[in-house]
Symmetry: D2
Subunit: 376 residues, 4 copies
């Protein structure tokens, strides 16, 4: 038995002898996003799941007895015992799938203890001291986390050395921002009008009632439009002296909920500084690759944007699973009589928009040397 495994909490699996992958803690492991993080770690080449935590009422329970029925865990993971969100955690790297309210309390506290918290929560996305990252778009913003140590103190005290918080975008922005970024780089992006068709799983469990989504569309998602309008400016912004100078872009969003399980579809019209033809935009999207530092991350598809040519695509059910939900589909690219171009974007809200996004950020943190084998 290795020293490491001997200190496992009772009932939890020990890593195989010789498993040299970096231990990771997952917070909020019972929800769909948290469970998907657990599942993504099952065969991860760099990381291994070491600790799973959930809210007080699940503490001490087996994961299998509390986990979302939508995710089929491995037998080993199903048997894990849930620990308190307060920890203590031995893993330096903490993946958080907490709801915003819990994240707001717990994440700064963990950063103060020196954990690197890679969070899917919305709590700190708009915080000027916290990076909001899509590795293919703005991996350089990750430098912001280095400035959190000793300085950033929303509630938990300043982050300890090596500690900090990194966030990924809202699930609708996660598909949109990588599509806007290369347009902005190539043609200059001024204005965006977007209407979303968002999937039910984006609301978590219990989420919307069935009575509201049979033979119906609900044209409102509380707080969503504000995020879609604000987050792209931060993601496409420039890091200047450790702070983000937001992009000058204006976004108008209308967010709706449709009877679709997974996959956010978005109808987008963009006004560009320079004229761009359908072929030019298509070429730019197809050529788009992550910057060097973020290239080859295990969860990142080599080609992040797939442009479809059929008239009636992308469709949520047919296109959401491309590259395990990490590739973004663009289709129906055509000139816009009001602006410059219009098109549809589809991305998997649980993968590219949540669990995959957080995992990709964790991989970026590791690739850039910021993850430690254990809390120091």
């Amino acid at each position: 038995m290795t020293p490491d495994s001997s200190s496992s909490p009772a009932g939890d699996p020990s890593p195989s002898a010789g498993d040299r992958r970096i231990p990771v803690a997952v917070l909020g492991a019972t929800g769909t996003v948290g469970a998907r993080l657990v599942q993504r770690l099952e065969r991860h080449p760099w990381f291994r799941l070491a600790e799973v935590a959930a809210s007080e009422r699940s503490e001490g329970a087996r994961l299998r007895d509390r986990v979302s029925p939508d995710i089929e865990l491995s037998a080993v993971d199903a048997e894990r015992t849930l620990v308190s969100l307060d920890g203590p955690f031995r893993s330096h790297l903490v993946l958080s799938a907490l709801p915003a309210s819990a994240a707001r309390e717990i994440e700064p506290e963990l950063a103060a203890r020196g954990h690197l918290v890679v969070s899917n929560a919305s709590a700190f996305r708009a915080d000027p001291g916290v990076p909001l990252i899509v590795p293919e778009v703005n991996p350089d913003h990750l430098d912001m986390v280095d400035h959190q140590a000793g300085r950033w103190t929303p509630t938990g005290g300043p982050a300890r050395d090596g500690g900090g918080i990194v966030t990924n975008p809202n699930c609708a922005v996660a598909g949109l921002a990588p599509v806007l970024a290369p347009l902005d780089a190539a043609f200059g992006l001024r204005r965006v009008v977007v209407t979303t068709f968002q999937a039910i799983s984006g609301a978590g469990r219990p989420g919307p009632s069935a009575i509201d989504l049979v033979d119906n569309v609900v044209p409102w998602i509380g707080g969503e439009e504000e995020k879609i309008e604000a987050e792209p400016r931060k993601i496409l912004g420039r890091l200047v002296d450790g702070a983000i100078e937001g992009a000058s872009l204006t976004v108008s969003a209308t967010a709706t909920r449709v009877p679709v399980l997974h996959g956010h579809l978005e109808a987008v019209s963009v006004e560009l500084d320079r004229t761009a033809t359908v072929d030019e935009a298509t070429a730019v999207w197809r050529a788009f690759r992550a910057p060097e530092v973020a290239r080859g991350l295990p969860s990142g598809p080599e080609q992040p944007i797939v442009v479809l040519e059929q008239d009636d695509r992308p469709q949520p059910r047919l296109d959401r699973d491309r590259a395990e939900g990490m590739a973004i589909s663009v289709g129906r690219v055509r000139p816009c009589p009001v602006h410059t171009l219009r098109f549809l974007v589809l991305s998997h809200n649980l993968e590219r928009g949540a669990a995959g996004a957080a995992m990709l950020n964790a991989e970026l943190a590791q690739a850039s040397g910021r993850v430690r084998p254990a809390l120091g």
Copy 2:
């Protein structure tokens, strides 16, 4: 037996003695829109159903054996015998719910014989000699039909005196144009970006396959966007010397099909000539009434546009049936960061968008003295 009833085709009901309502023929009576026209005539104060026609393969059959299962007809109507689309028809007024291809052949022929054809088909909507009418918006365009006699000849020869073709808009435009018209009148309308969420029944039967609309949205409806971009310009245009001078408006449309039975929802952003606040626009919509000539028509709601104030409305299932599907719901009116205002529009595609629209046009024709008790 009255003289009138003695000339009824075998098997068809005679009008009650003393029923002085104007006889009407319905073409394409077996489809959902045609059957809804039949149903709307059951208790119509001005018109009575005299003749029902359908395509060759239904000729001679009882209506009940061929009609869409979605419409529950009265026992009397269910027993009617379907006659040929070629007629001859005794009614001067003909309501057409034919598909575009059949309409293109038959409607001009009927106009040439002197029938006033009030059509829901798309075949002649864009024809410069044919009026495209929403009674609350452009009832004056009906004058165009008076110029068809002796002149308009797409295929059937010139219309005979009293004959002609009148059309109503595409089902997505039928809800949109009346909402745009008062904005244009009050503030000047420049540009519109609209994304539609269209109901299944808009496609007729068999329509889309279930396999494509469970857990899915199809972001394309062939030919629809072109209509949504063109028709508002004609409807909001001015009649000058018998021809339409289109409005200068530019529309960009993205049309999608969602798993909803009835009710087209549309997310709209408008750029106006003059600034308008949410309250000003709301007041303009609430004050909107049909012009004098079109006021008080039996199928027209007194208040054509209802502005909802709840955050999450309009919703197709909850709002489509307002005023028997003839009132249009507007909701979520708010400033648009890219244009001037944005809002959602909902209207019942089979009522305001098809059967009710054609009926309202027939009523306008009657109110303006253009309908005759029988073909001369």
Copy 3:
């Protein structure tokens, strides 16, 4: 102003002068069933809505601010003020749409005060002292309520004179029992195997999550199968010396939830004492009428059971609204290779299965002289 109206709670409508209809209180008016009771009272010939009550957290609020969005109330009803479930109520007749837990506490208390409580709740359906009634089937069981006064005391003390509790069946049984009753009378009913396809609205709000009913069926409804197996025995039983002798019938039920808004469909196989052909059973169902005492009730269709002959009917969406949801559709009647006959039953769970069922019981109580103009 009449003396009656002068004592109305502030903000509540007074009955029109000369409105001689019997006042009624509705408990649980904010839920879908309660709101539907309110709506059914808008034009009721015998009863008028006098009082609306809801749970503590809605007390004092306007009905419109708490009511289920699925029901569109009249302007007058929307403005009513909700009072406490504890009353006091002036109406003798109380219609209860409470959840079982609240019903269990409040209904006996009201009976003890002398109110006749006509309840849709499951709380006392199985109570040997409480009648479980479908007016077309067992109106004579209503005599049981006369024995409650002074005797029946589950928790609230004995019912006061004129007070008591009357219940209607579970929403799946409400459609099934009236179909079984005439078979039993004509041929003797031994065994029933039934599989239900139950609509979402049967679960109230919030009800099942959309994530569980898109692209899915949930083959379990907690507690439902037990009710479907037990209640028909009581309804089809005989009243002997004031107590029910249950029918000897055996029922095996499997209850499932399907993505349908309203309308419970049931696939039924029955074993009869005597052989019955499809034609014989059809004739028996078509001839079925309510017993004299329950005939002509305002909410009862003249013909309670409609037998459909098309291959593919009944279907929830097409057949649930027959006779305002009070007629039960039977279809696909055919011999059963295992038992005697098999067929499908459809009934509207909110009407025949809940609000309409309670209203019909209230009407039966009035027709049999048990309702008083006010609490004595």
Copy 4:
């Protein structure tokens, strides 16, 4: 270039040098089942796709231009050229996903030429000379195919040596029969009452209209109940002197279509010769394994039947994909008050019920030495 590949039709991929897998032809490759067969062959350990055929109107086209959008083929398969259903085919083994009408004509003709046709079509399932096989249940029935040579001649002449037709069951029976078989073996099976909830994909494309399956269930599938009642008797029957002696079982089936994409759910009540407890039945199902000859086939799960213990399972969306759709889920096993036991069964209609079923039969044919490397 190998001799084999040099004779490939233009445009079709050559097998990799050294690919010693047995060549297979797929008929009806453009439909969902056919395309799924193509997909299953991509990584098959024993077989390789050599020829793809479709109806006349697709002949000469690329597979990618005609294939069902529901199946994502590999780039290599997408480029294959469709040949005529008449062949000639070089593969001895032919997998047929043809509709019944085409199968009726073509399959006997291919058998007469010496092909072993493993068919998913219903055309010959009931033919007394054709085996109807589920490898885990009745692999011995495959012997029947040996008697087809020189004798069996429905239309195509007698099968040539090595030629013949083998079928798999209807998609609803494919899940049911393996669940009934071990009950029959252990306890004796007398009577079965089954109600199905069948998925949309079972109807192929275009299949049911969306307008019929939003907010609805269609309680009828033409011809389905007859198959569900007849096929289990043949599958559970005994092969005596080259002919099937049907099991004495009686089945009563009601078949419905529900708004589910994939996965047929069935509510089953069984009457057994001997009493069986829930635990006994569960043990029998869990112990059930394929007979020796059919054990370890590449597409067969080691444990064909999974018994679930949660109250609300199996559910189509959550359980259909178990073992790539080849494991059958049983749940809610409980005593039946009318018969002996009742339970729910779920199986994937496209895998266990169609493409996987045919593939498993092909594997059984190979394992039993009946497949040749090429048409002799």
